[in-house]
């Protein structure tokens, strides 16, 4: 059974004036349908304002649908009875590393979630230590978050979610404010959680190169899913991506440009190795 199932999900932000009359309605999600299987690594791409963050908040029951519905692990998020079970099953990491760390010491922050759901004391310590080890931040457990780099803070935030032992983790642009080092560390940690702990990962991002290794990609625009498929299928259509000013990884773009110039490369090249291998073959084979 699908872990997340959204059916005709609509979300409207309604602005009211002082008398409570509707001033404007902005449709952030417009009939979104998707199924996410457990254990998958899913990426959702899109510009700011494409609705991708609004969608993320629905998976965590921070927002509930205006129309349609979304089931998380079989639970309807509109049903208030399930709110906390949904949040525990699908944890969320946000963009700004500073604005999601509550405590002044790393391990106390990681403990915040388990404390909220009433885990007994001895188990909390174990969970906190395990979670910090998973993201490689164990040795910083008694540090102040203020002394950590952005990437380290973000990994602490991931540990904070993992300590609640969720089945799924949603990351809403977790790398947007990080430098390349921090970005690589965070992505490595997330991929490990997916591979070793079989956690379903939903990565929301606007960096194309971050989605290359995912199982499935959704591209959103104006509240709708406008492309979906395996990364290779998505990157095949470089022209379409460029038209919507989405980023294309340099290697894919170079392969695309070479193809346009008549070099017989295969349809979609994602990695450096693939491109180099094909070019060497072409040159040695003297096909041009």
């Amino acid at each position: 059974m699908a872990f997340i199932k959204s059916k005709d999900l609509v979300h409207e932000y309604i602005r009211r004036d002082e008398e409570g009359n509707v001033e404007s309605i902005q449709t952030a999600l417009d009939h979104v349908n998707l199924n996410i299987e457990p254990g998958q690594f899913i990426s959702i791409l899109g510009h700011n304002g494409s609705g991708k963050s609004t969608f993320a908040k629905h998976i965590n029951a921070l927002l509930t649908p205006s129309e349609g519905m979304i089931l998380v692990d079989g639970m309807n998020t509109s049903d208030e009875e399930y709110t906390f079970s949904v949040r525990q099953a699908a944890g969320m990491v946000f963009q700004n590393p500073d604005n999601q760390i509550i405590a002044s010491v790393v391990d106390e922050d990681v403990a915040f979630g388990p404390e909220n759901i009433g885990i007994p004391t001895d188990q909390i310590i174990e969970r906190v230590e395990n979670a910090l080890k998973m993201v490689g931040m164990y040795k910083y457990k008694s540090h102040s978050p203020n002394k950590l780099s952005g990437g380290q803070k973000q990994r602490v935030a991931i540990a904070g979610v993992m300590a609640m032992e969720p089945k799924c983790i949603i990351l809403d642009e977790p790398t947007a404010m990080l430098d390349p080092d921090g970005r690589a560390d965070v992505l490595r940690a997330v991929h490990e959680l997916n591979k070793l702990k079989h956690i379903t990962v939903i990565l929301i991002t606007h960096y194309m190169e971050e989605v290359v290794d995912s199982d499935y990609v959704y591209v959103m625009e104006k509240g709708k899913i406008f492309m979906e498929g395996k990364p290779r299928e998505i990157f095949k259509d470089v022209e379409k991506l460029k038209e919507h000013s989405l980023d294309v990884p340099q290697v894919t773009l170079l392969a695309h440009e070479l193809k346009k110039a008549g070099v017989p490369l295969s349809d979609c090249i994602l990695t450096r190795q693939e491109l180099v291998d094909e070019l060497v073959k072409i040159k040695k084979g003297g096909q041009i």
Partner: protein
């Protein structure tokens, strides 16, 4: 200058003081303050001072780190000291025009200033050895009885610990915005007090906007991690007295008895 404030900062180290229950430290600090202001002669004062030095040694926090907290309030100390020195009536020692220093004034000034210094060092020993969370836990537990009269002790304690977490962030932010506005020619130094207040607008508006944005983000993050008030919460490190705490209490009471014994004998 804002960076020098060490009050509320935690200094991670492995010491007896660090492992004490925060309630013990809160109580000890209270006792320290009472005896500090009750010390009315040089012997008692020396007694308090020696105890404090001993405690500082126990804390494994570098002394230089503690006095850094004083830098921020040096001006305040000097002003308080001068007021005491010049405005207390008594036997005249020296005279500069209409200002005179009296024996009582001089004594008061020295006593007042050293009391303030010790007060700040003493309380920062507590905050430096106690994480803000432990501190608020300690306060929450110590004042738990107020819950019965309708005070939201848990919420207040949580607000305090969040405030402590965000103080350094907002200090840094203030610094950044100030620089950004200075780069646009803003002037935060010259002018009279009204102009100065007006010149602060380009600093304060962005600072408030940012604080509200952070508060909004944080509330989402807390909700996402199943925060639902104090009901049904457990603790990773619930406060539990150990034998070490019992020994500490014995030390504190011994100190109180000694202090008042000396005070009444003298």
């Amino acid at each position: 200058m804002l960076r020098d404030i060490t009050i509320g900062q935690y200094y991670p180290a492995d010491s007896v003081l660090h492992s004490l229950d925060p309630r013990v430290k809160l109580f000890a600090t209270l006792v320290f303050i009472i005896t500090l202001f009750g010390a009315n002669n040089i012997f008692l004062f020396a007694f308090v001072l020696v105890t404090l030095i001993g405690i500082i040694k126990l804390s494994h926090v570098p002394f230089s780190f503690m006095v850094r907290g004083l830098r921020a309030i040096v001006v305040l100390l000097v002003i308080a000291g001068l007021f005491n020195m010049f405005l207390t009536p008594g036997r005249e020692l020296v005279r500069f025009g209409f200002l005179k220093i009296t024996d009582v004034g001089l004594k008061n000034a020295v006593l007042m200033t050293s009391r303030m210094v010790l007060l700040i060092i003493g309380t920062s020993v507590m905050t430096l050895t106690t994480t803000p969370n432990q501190l608020t836990d300690g306060l929450e537990k110590s004042f738990g009885f107020l819950k019965k009269v309708g005070v939201s002790v848990h919420e207040i304690a949580l607000m305090m610990s969040i405030a402590l977490r965000f103080i350094p962030i907002l200090v840094e932010e203030t610094d950044k915005i100030m620089k950004a506005q200075m780069a646009r020619g803003a002037d935060f130094e010259s002018g009279n007090i009204f102009q100065k207040a007006k010149n602060m607008v380009p600093l304060l508006v962005p600072l408030f906007v940012s604080a509200f944005r952070r508060a909004n983000d944080l509330s989402y993050a807390m909700e996402a991690r199943c925060y639902n008030g104090g009901e049904g919460r457990t603790k990773m490190r619930p406060l539990k007295y150990s034998s070490l705490d019992q020994r500490a209490y014995i030390c504190i009471f011994t100190y109180i008895i000694l202090f008042y014994a000396v005070k009444f004998v003298m």
